[in-house]
């Protein structure tokens, strides 16, 4: 595991840095076909991988499928992993699984034109539109709002932003995970955040006060 500037995955139920010492050993055993060794890695990375897929696809069932598919193909192509960050390599496979799903959706959408966007787009159904007094409901609404904004980004920008700000990878790891140059990574993150800034500003009252204040300040400055 690398410590990166963006590294802030505090919430994950993932062991801290120094418990990853057995990763080379697990990888070596996996190369010999040891499924148990690989499953240890699966347990270690399943939440980050699922989270990446969920943020990319905004659909829990689709994210589950993509994550499972990613682990299967990671096991089968373990010999193509040639050192570097295993996490980045795994994310790359997961991202490819997500891109496959996005492509499938696109072709499905062109087939049936007025099909509504995924019913699962919102992680939590806000069935009651009455004022959400409950703090948790508010947080969920905010989460859905952010997810919606993410979903509107072009998929390359979305992936780069998720890897950096949600998964906490550093730029070098993101370059590895997206098979892109460092310059491309920088510009994708930059554009992705700039787009999000515009999208989130439209969200108004949902956002934390800090962002609103920043927005108001911006309005003062520009108008």
């Amino acid at each position: 595991m690398q410590t990166g500037d963006c590294l802030d995955t505090s919430g994950y139920n993932v062991p801290t840095l120094n418990t990853y010492d057995d990763e080379p050993d697990l990888l070596a055993r996996t190369r010999k076909g040891d499924l148990d060794a690989f499953n240890s890695l699966v347990e270690r990375f399943q939440s980050p991988v699922y989270s990446l897929c969920l943020r990319m696809l905004a659909s829990p069932p689709a994210a589950e499928d993509a994550a499972q598919e990613a682990f299967i193909s990671a096991f089968r192509s373990i010999n193509s992993f040639r050192g570097g960050s295993f996490r980045a390599w795994l994310f790359r496979i997961a991202a490819n699984a997500c891109y496959d799903e996005i492509r499938r959706r696109r072709s499905r959408r062109t087939r049936s034109l007025d099909e509504p966007r995924d019913d699962d787009t919102r992680p939590i159904d806000v069935a009651d539109p009455a004022p959400a007094l409950d703090e948790r409901a508010e947080a969920a609404e905010l989460g859905a709002f952010i997810q919606d904004a993410l979903s509107r980004l072009p998929s390359d920008q979305r992936l780069a932003v998720i890897l950096c700000d949600v998964q906490g990878l550093d730029y070098a790891e993101i370059a590895e995970a997206t098979a892109a140059s460092l310059g491309t990574v920088k510009s994708r993150i930059s554009r992705g955040r700039a787009n999000l800034r515009v999208l989130l500003r439209a969200g108004g009252e949902l956002l934390p006060t800090r962002f609103r204040q920043a927005s108001e300040g911006q309005n003062d400055a520009t108008l």
Binding site: D5, C6, D8, T9, S10, G11, Y12, N13, G33, L35, F38, N39, V42, E43, Q46, S47, V49, Y50, S51, L54, R55, P60, E64, A67, Q68, F71, I72, F75, R76, N79, A139, G143, I146, V161, C164, D165, V166, G168, Y171, K186, S187, I189, S190, R193, A194, L196, R197, L200, R201, L207, P208, R210, F211, A214, S215, G217, Q218, D220, A221, T222
Partner: protein
């Protein structure tokens, strides 16, 4: 206009600046610009907020375990060998057998020629020929193995298991019965004819002075050739899966004619190699 371009260039760096990706002179220039540009300061603050908001998203836990079961790995791995057409497999095997026989005949003809004219150069040539024979047949076996592997598209393991049969065929063939699908590792030549071709020269190499057993060799060849179905099954299951795939029975069902031809070719091959051994031994005794 120039000022606007400069401003835009600075704006593009704001995101990287937050992540500490802007250094040295660039950073100093950007900070100077920020000090004088309220708009950029505001944008910087907002980008900072975007990052903070994204990071504040509640962590997502996997809804279930994604541990892989052997079946999950197997069901994905299995379709590939089936996808290769049985006809192609048979063609590759037949081609291997024919090539091995042709090679043997050429070498045999060459050798008998030497024997008849039987005078000079004898000390060096037989050894060279034997080496050529074994190298050539080994190569053929390897090529066959990789062909078979490619046809069945089983990554890696088919290729690595192929060189083993020549070393081991001698022992199990004398004890096991034909077409015993349960025979474990040794009796699994990927391409039977090629393996038989590889087995014989290594025997010739290992014990050049011992009187050769001509009747045993063709039999061994025939047996090796007559057991293609276990080889196929092993190709199927060779990713370490014990489950015998039901579909793997289909390739062998339509190939009895091929097997007979293969057996015949292997017998010819065996006889030819046996004859070669006899001639070699006879000549050495004559010396």
């Amino acid at each position: 206009m120039l000022l606007f371009d400069r401003h835009r260039r600075f704006r593009e760096r704001l995101s990287g600046y937050i992540d500490g990706q802007v250094n040295g002179r660039e950073k100093a220039a950007l900070e100077t610009h920020l000090a004088s540009c309220k708009r950029c300061r505001t944008e910087l603050a907002q980008l900072h907020s975007v990052r903070t908001i994204l990071r504040s998203l509640p962590p997502v836990q996997a809804p279930r375990s994604f541990r892989l079961t052997p079946q999950q790995v197997a069901t994905v791995a299995r379709p590939r060998p089936i996808a290769a057409s049985p006809a192609l497999n048979n063609a590759v095997r037949l081609a291997g057998a024919v090539a091995a026989v042709a090679l043997t005949i050429v070498v045999f003809a060459d050798r008998s020629d030497v024997f008849e004219s039987g005078t000079t150069n004898e000390a060096s040539r037989p050894a060279g020929n034997a080496e050529m024979l074994s190298q050539a047949t080994d190569k053929a076996a390897r090529e066959n193995a990789t062909n078979g592997g490619a046809a069945a598209t089983v990554g890696g393991s088919a290729g690595t298991s192929a060189p083993q049969p020549p070393l081991a065929t001698g022992a199990p063939l004398s004890t096991t019965t034909d077409q015993n699908a349960a025979v474990p590792a040794p009796a699994t030549p990927t391409v039977p004819a090629g393996a038989a071709g590889g087995a014989a020269p290594s025997a010739a190499f290992g014990q050049p002075s011992v009187a050769p057993p001509p009747p045993a060799t063709p039999l061994a060849g025939a047996r090796a050739a007559a057991s293609p179905s276990p080889a196929l099954q092993n190709l199927d299951s060779d990713q370490g899966q014990q489950a015998a795939p039901p579909a793997s029975a289909s390739p062998s069902s339509g190939s009895s004619a091929v097997r007979i031809i293969e057996a015949l070719l292997a017998a010819v091959l065996g006889i030819a190699i046996g004859g070669t051994l006899v001639l070699t031994a006879a000549r050495r005794l004559g010396q």
